[in-house]
Symmetry: D2
């Protein structure tokens, strides 16, 4: 089995991948990619069997690159989710002290999460954007380090270790409870079976100029007693104010209530892109409202049949 | 075929029955009953094949006796509806003039519909309740007429003719557009097929102490784009403030949207009593919202199947 | 003070009136009327100061005559409600036994509530409608009793006593828990102050051909956290399928949430007829949802003011 | 008047600022800032009178840095919005040809919008992130150009001109209709008056664990006939799945319907942060549903007053 992930080695994404036992198996191969797009393209092309990408951060919100890459192109489905606590460190080559730091390199999302610490401890430091937090560390850990336009990197602890850097400060994130949610994505096929503690992900496209549209979509869930756990609006690219909705719900496509809600959405939406059902990382059982158990649906179906053919 | 109806001969109910061609067939027998309960009991007992009873008047509202009798007891279903314009006349035996009228006999519903005319033209007349408008006419047309405690009857034109009365005044209803809706009821069996212009009738019982309950029930219809044409609350008899809802909707139980709504109600209600699907008397095609045609449901079902077993 | 009520003496309505201490005061005058219309007309004409009429029965449902009389004509408001347990007896002149009873007189609503007992114990008895249960008793208690076309009356215990009848059977109602709700009505003026356990009554008229109309009206309540305790549809008389809604809600017109809901209804309805706020007979405090206390509204209003004029 | 903006000179943000006539006045000073945070901090500190920042892109979606910076810290309000069509060019120092380009510098949002062109025309080019598109151009236009780790920049046409670069390709955006929406922000004070074609912006924070929460918030708008034009969820930072909602609606805080909706939200939300009312850039008049004009509210208020003190 080959797994693409948002690399390089040492990213939080690699940590997420390593949470999957099958990805640590002797015959498993882990292939770092430079971007979410690249990792998912490799999956679509059949070069790998699955890919791990970040989808949501508890501080920064949805990862647009992932949301957009899943919403377009050949179909892919989420088969698992992984939560990784995010811990940032400030790392530099041996010999550099905090007082020496004039510029700091890191990914823009990471920079956003250490703004508070930086404004207090390094208010004069310039910010240099990099492609990833691991790339920031890598820039200081190689032979061309003296050409790197920054003196220290904000990165994951593992990246500092990998690239032989020393810690100037540990756990510098403004929000100590920051967590990033990653998803394991594969090509469509038989997905994971229901566990009773599942989520489903989808993207909903409305018909144009549909007043009160989002309310109508949410009612398709509420009337079947389904809770949402994430809702992001993403532009469709067709013009200002034209959005689709990327949504996670409690429940599995094989659950009766989820199936009926999906059919309802399919009927009233311009398009519904189903992105998979998978076990929740936190193992919290879904809330199932009165009258929305599978047995309730089956009983109602039998009853309807008896009405139609008495 | 034997048909029970709310008699005696000469009632508006008989007129409704005679709208049905099959009820005028040579071998058809029309059996008058003294009450709605009695007519429906005869149907339940198998003594007749169908029964015609009034269900709703455009001035007086729902006919409680019918609503309650259909809502309880052995199941019955509506298989047709008939609309009868309601015209009231004031009739009396030959020789009686308007000036002679001291008391007027009629059914309380009829009295309510001629109150305006009476308060202007016969303000001093006493009101004597009778079991039906036809019974009021019959009381003046038989041999014991001089013991009848009223001098004139408010009844249908046909009842005046049947009982040999003369008209003191014609069309005395306060609302000239008054219409009563009657239903042809039979025992459950293969009901009329969908015509595209159908109604369905049902009674919904909520679980006890269900806040916002009616709103939740109406959402089961609205989310599937179904219009209501009648909603009556009726006490369940279990205590003040305990109601069930007698409802007519546009559409047929064989319509996908109606079937799914019925299943939804079945899941969330304490009980749903289905009372039949039948062609609308006015032949108005049902309004079908975007995404709620049968084909939309079938397409959505195929799509869901493809998600579940890719 | 003069009080009109639906008479004659001995009706359940008189019992309701006597629950009001002020109506038993030495200077209080109680004026029986032959119909709800007549009692309310006397009130509108200024002949009496208040009127008591039945509005809802736990078995038979809304009292159409009262609902319709309050919904039209000069404005009147409900200022109190009274609950009266309904107990029916079968009464007859001395010497009459159950075996002698060929015909029974009573009001049609009462007849409906003793059908079960009658079908078991007097299955052969004919039914003779009367204007009220008390009138049925009166017909047997006077000098013309031998011309009365029935042998026994179904009435309230007090009516049997008043008219000197003897009981053939006591408590013959099919539903032993039957209760009728009466209202004390007066001309508009300063109504009762809020008590925290109040109801308000109103009639809502929709604009013509308003799809999903009732749902929209109910949302005006639900969005302000207001519970309904009664909803009746009543025809407007303008044609089949044209209804208004007679509604009781928890809360007082002086409550902020009720005031805003009433304004919302006034904006979206063709007409709103407010019929008063008054203490609940059962003294149950209103359920007040989070964020809908008066203080919440006042705080929100101050906040809005600060936004508008910073 | 001093205006902060997201610089450096040559950004699309500067173009947005220059759409405001007052910002081109002789005494107006335009102060470029390196980040949205910095521009808004200068405004909060009183160093400038207003600031222009991007808030939404028709391709990339909401600008998180702006949404988050407005949602926290001392209150600021939007007083105007500006739309700028986004045109990207590929620019390089004189002498560089397309074939010479090994690496391309630009802001990550711009990179996302030219991915299609790049994968077709420069599939081998590496991507180097920069702080802004203008910074990418600046890096190639100064004396240290030979140390810049890329050969060409993706930037606005004006930035290429400002920094003396030549165009290798023009209009290379994948979506030719791309538009970015900018807002002019100031400290709270008397904002722009209603024009009939206004928007209002706000951030809504729900109480914790509020099932069906978003639906309830949207109903506060729908019941007053208010359309949403943008809805973004943003993490509150308190944990995975904890979101607030950044919302634009049609209408002005001085509109009655908007005022009542805001009060409703204030009552049911944990917090509502109002971010201003301002004329729409496209001058489209707000849709005002039946019954939600200011006059409707005023009429309803008078009517309620008459009910409360007859």
């Amino acid at each position: 089995m080959r797994y693409a992930y948002l690399g390089p080695a040492g990213t939080f994404t690699e940590q997420a991948l390593l949470q999957r036992p099958e990805a640590s198996a002797p015959d498993a191969e882990r292939v770092p990619h430079g971007s979410v797009d690249s990792a998912l393209a490799a999956l679509r092309a059949g070069e790998v069997d699955a890919a791990v990408v970040p989808i949501e951060n508890s501080v920064e919100g949805g990862v647009s690159a992932t949301l957009d890459a899943l919403a377009t192109g050949d179909p892919l489905v989420v088969v698992a989710e992984m939560l990784v606590p995010i811990t940032f460190v400030l790392a530099a080559p041996a010999g550099v002290t905090l007082a020496d730091v004039r510029a700091v390199g890191t990914h823009s999302h990471a920079w956003a999460q250490v703004r508070g610490w930086m404004s207090t401890r390094l208010p004069e430091a310039a910010y240099v954007p990099t492609l990833s937090t691991a790339a920031a560390a890598a820039g200081l850990g190689g032979p061309t380090e003296d050409q790197t336009p920054y003196d220290a990197a904000v990165c994951a602890p593992v990246a500092a270790t990998v690239h032989g850097l020393e810690l100037l400060a540990g756990d510098i994130g403004d929000n100590r409870a920051a967590v990033t949610r990653f998803v394991l994505v594969s090509r469509p096929g038989s997905g994971p079976a229901p566990t009773g503690a599942d989520k489903s992900t989808m993207v909903l496209y409305q018909h144009e100029d549909h007043p009160g549209g989002l309310l109508g979509l949410l009612e398709q869930f509420s009337v079947r007693g389904i809770n949402l756990t994430r809702l992001e609006s993403r532009p469709t690219g067709e013009g200002m104010g034209r959005y689709c909705f990327s949504i996670d719900i409690e429940g599995h496509v094989d659950d009766e209530r989820v199936g009926e809600a999906l059919m309802g959405l399919r009927r009233v939406c311009a398009d519904v892109r189903f992105l998979g059902s998978y076990p929740r990382a936190d193992r919290l059982a879904a809330t199932v409202a009165a009258g929305t158990q599978d047995a309730d649906f089956q009983h109602a179906r039998s009853w309807l049949r008896s009405l139609r053919t008495p």
